[in-house]
């Protein structure tokens, strides 16, 4: 099996190298044969996908057939590993995940090359760029991180098993989502670089890549949030975001990608920010590479860095080379990227996008700076320092709050110019609503002046409410106009409004989801935790809950042995649920693992939902009694609901616009300027 896999990888490398070189020659050659050469390059690119797919299939089949002669399978699987995790072996280790990266890239390239007729020249350029990235990954796979290396010596009877932290259902979904996001940004990057190299006229490359970019952004969003949820549900420390370097690495391309999604609208609508958009998409791609580099190189210690090796230098060279190429063409062809319009007013959608980009980029820079500062410190001071959550919370949170404010105001601004009068008119009621939320928080005992974290929480609540109220008011205002003209009910009118300009209103829904996510996060300062040794019948009181230990029980299966605590949860004297925090001991890897249990109190609290989060930490070595740690994490479930709404909003934005609304009235409809006036 390993020989088939190795052959497939070598073949893929040869095909992608041919696709790159022949494609490049065809682009710069003027003779008649160049078209035929370009076509062979395209076909070689398609065949690359088949070869990489074969290699991936071989690795998965090897995992299912317990072929421990392959070192990768030996180190990441075992006979009793459940089938889903055997499938996930493909991306559970360094070599496999690089193969998976390569497979996804080949898949994207496959789709792109099949659709080449949309614009042959532009697609040919993009295809060459993708082939170049593909060659890089296949070089690593063939010469630095070979997934089909064989074990020397006697054949092992069983593998050492998969890392227990990775044996969780979300681990089957989270890495593919994240990788689909990381890899997906290669496509708009390839089109942007291609368009820049060929001095492509107009903004068509943006129209072509808009869906790619949005889908990719959506995958990355889901990937980042699933990672946070995995940390919450598996690591057992009661939190979901630890500002770990690898978490940061996934957030950075998300931030620049988000900035790109916003600023690209200025190029589409007004022919502005052309250089900036190029730089943003280049940065997004490079940051995706930095993310993979951080996860895989071990240059920075991280709870998520599951592999450490020497491939870091490969990535550094590739990142430097890509940066050089991008900068060269950006400087060379900058005259092609001149703005077509000027800014007419400071209070306008354009300037809000500028400041939105500024804040997103500042946030990204802060995270990049904090992530790499330990290396800089070692270089300058001779010793590393830790840049952990206290730093990021103090520096990033104020910027994020400003961004939230802009998220609320931005959609109320019209393109070109907004009068302060109309801004005041649209902003008044949402602002009153938001301030009243802040007032209510103070009324219910939150003292923002007592602690910076309470201050931030109050500000975040007010600004999230502002975002939500502005979104709702936009839907209502537009819906009322359509309802008035078409005699529909308000809800149908709002649906129609949304369908008329899916991109704009889909974006609003995404903003609404972001506000919900922030509401979920702002509960953090109000978290509570209690740790206690619990024998039968022992109680823990935390917040309005009383936890009573009913019993402990054990189980065993071929993969692991486990122990559960059985904890009854009471509130107001009434039992509301029973929870089973768990500890496992994985046999193959000989590693223990805790698995928390989470109960979100939707039935009891609804809006102020709180997670009851229990961890069975182990036994006190002296007394032999089990230790249970209980957390109360208010509002956290809103984060995951916010994610669902963000995904929904993105899907809405991807739906094509409906034709203009049919009006029964004899006079033509003249909607106010702010209704469907643009994205």
């Amino acid at each position: 099996m390993s020989q088939i896999g190795s052959f497939a990888l070598l073949l893929a490398l040869g095909l992608s190298a041919y696709s790159f070189l022949a494609g490049l020659l065809a682009l710069f050659s003027k003779d008649a044969a160049s078209a035929r050469l370009g076509e062979t390059a395209r076909r070689a690119g398609i065949a690359t996908f088949a070869a990489v797919l074969l290699a991936a299939i071989v690795l998965v089949v090897s995992a299912f057939s317990d072929d421990f002669s392959i070192a990768y399978i030996f180190h990441h699987s075992n006979r009793d590993l459940p089938p889903a995790y055997k499938f996930a072996v493909l991306w559970s280790g360094q070599e496999g995940s690089l193969l998976f990266w390569s497979l996804l890239l080949a898949g994207y390239g496959f789709v792109l090359r099949l659709r080449y007729k949309t614009d042959q020249q532009l697609f040919a350029h993009a295809s060459v760029v993708i082939a170049a990235v593909q060659v890089f990954f296949l070089l690593i796979l063939n010469f630095a991180a070979h997934p089909f290396g064989v074990i020397q010596g006697p054949l092992p009877q069983d593998g050492t098993g998969l890392n227990p932290l990775l044996q969780y259902p979300e681990m089957v979904i989270h890495p593919p989502m994240l990788y689909l996001g990381y890899v997906g940004f290669t496509v708009p990057f390839a089109f942007a670089l291609g368009a820049l190299i060929m001095k492509y006229p107009g903004e068509k490359w943006i129209h072509i890549t808009r869906r790619w970019t949005m889908v990719t952004w959506c995958f990355l969003t889901v990937g980042v949030f699933l990672g946070a949820h995995w940390a919450y549900a598996v690591l057992g420390w009661g939190g979901y975001w630890g500002w770990d370097p690898v978490e940061n690495a996934s957030l950075m391309p998300w931030l620049t990608g988000t900035a790109f999604l916003h600023s690209v609208m200025m190029q589409e609508k007004r022919g502005m920010l052309k250089v900036w958009n190029m730089a943003l998409i280049f940065a997004t791609f490079l940051l995706s590479m930095v993310g993979t580099f951080l996860t895989r190189s071990g240059v920075i210690s991280s709870v998520h860095a599951f592999a450490q090796s020497s491939i870091g230098s490969w990535f550094l060279v590739f990142i430097a080379l890509t940066l050089a190429v991008c900068t060269y063409f950006l400087v060379l062809n900058r005259s092609h990227l001149k703005s077509e319009h000027k800014l007419e007013a400071l209070v306008s959608r354009e300037s809000s996008f500028l400041f939105n980009n500024l804040l997103l980029l500042t946030l990204c820079f802060t995270i990049l700076w904090g992530t790499f500062f330990p290396i800089l410190s070692e270089f300058v001071q001779g010793h590393k320092v830790t840049v952990g959550p206290p730093f990021f919370n103090r520096v990033a949170v104020p910027v994020a709050l400003l961004l939230l404010l802009l998220t609320a105001i931005g959609p109320l601004l019209a393109w070109r110019k907004t009068s302060l009068e109309s801004l005041k008119r649209n902003f008044l009621y949402p602002a009153i609503g938001a301030l009243s939320i802040g007032g209510m928080m103070i009324l219910f005992g939150v003292r923002p002046w007592e602690d910076p974290s309470y201050f931030y929480a109050t500000m975040a609540a007010v600004l999230s409410a502002l975002v939500m109220f502005t979104v709702i008011s936009e839907f209502l205002r537009g819906g009322r106009v359509i309802a008035g003209k078409t005699q529909q009910n308000l809800f149908s009118a709002m649906l129609q409004l949304c369908h008329r300009n899916t991109r704009r209103y889909g974006g609003y829904i995404v903003h609404f989801g972001v506000a919900l996510v922030v509401i979920g996060i702002l509960g953090t300062p109000f978290n509570k935790e209690v740790e206690k040794e619990m024998g039968f019948g022992d109680k823990i009181s935390i917040g309005p809950y009383t936890l009573v230990c009913q019993s402990y029980t054990q189980d065993d299966n071929p993969n692991y042995g486990n122990e559960w605590a059985i904890i009854n949860v009471f509130r107001g004297g009434k039992q509301i649920t029973t929870m089973y925090p768990e500890r496992r001991f994985y046999k193959a890897s000989q590693q223990p693992q805790t698995l928390p249990r989470i109960y979100p109190s939707f039935r009891e609290d609804l809006f102020l939902v709180t997670d009851v989060y229990l961890v069975y930490e182990g036994k006190n070595e002296t007394t032999g009694r089990p230790i249970i740690k209980a957390h109360l994490n208010p509002l956290v479930p809103w984060i995951w609901i916010g994610l669902i709404i963000m995904v929904f909003g993105t899907i809405v934005a991807l739906v094509p616009n409906a034709v203009a609304v049919q009006v029964a009235a004899t006079t033509p409809v003249r909607a106010p300027a702010h209704v469907g006036a643009g994205d």
Binding site: W237, V303, L343, L346, T362, W369, S377, T386, P389, F391
Partner: protein, 222 residues
Amino acid sequence: MKSSNHALEFVLKGRGFNRAVSATKSRTALAFEGRGAKTQAKKPARQALHALILTTTVFLFMGAGDDSARFKDLGHRMMCACGCSQILLECNHVGCTYSDKMRDQLQAALDKGNNDDLILQGFVQDYGPTVIAAPTATGFNRVAWIMPFAALAFGVTFVVYVVRSWKNRPTPALADGIPIPRGNEDELDEFRRRAREATMGGERKLLELLASQRQIVEASGF
């Protein structure tokens, strides 16, 4: 009195105002020593205001400096030294040989009545500088804190510059030098949009047109 001072110190340090703490202390010390009495006598109202602010602050934050809150605060300002890259009080990884020991050490230091700086210094001596979860505001580490805000300030300046230069950019003029009347901007925008569309699909249409013309020419026998 001890708890009041302690509460004030906690509050101010929580906001990262170490310097403010020392400044307040030195001013208070001066006042007690009688130095600068002349200046202070001239401003009884300001003195009263200071006292009021101080009293209010201490009152508001009374209790914030109790040991459990300090334990939580300090425990979240340090990392577990086992290499798990987690905050000390959040490290729960099974079989950790450091976190329990470090928590006990922290509690013992608090019981001794050590102040926060002394406790943190003790941990740095025992576990190295990486035990502190964020760069200190001293020496080169200050750069860590300054850079993000400097970047934001630079960014704001840059955006303001860009916005101003765009606003001041002259209105595009016609080939003969006659400026475009402002009232026609909308119309021109529409033309530009159409022109862009024409550019995008134009090449293909042009080729199709040329091909059809060639066919006509060939068919006509020329």
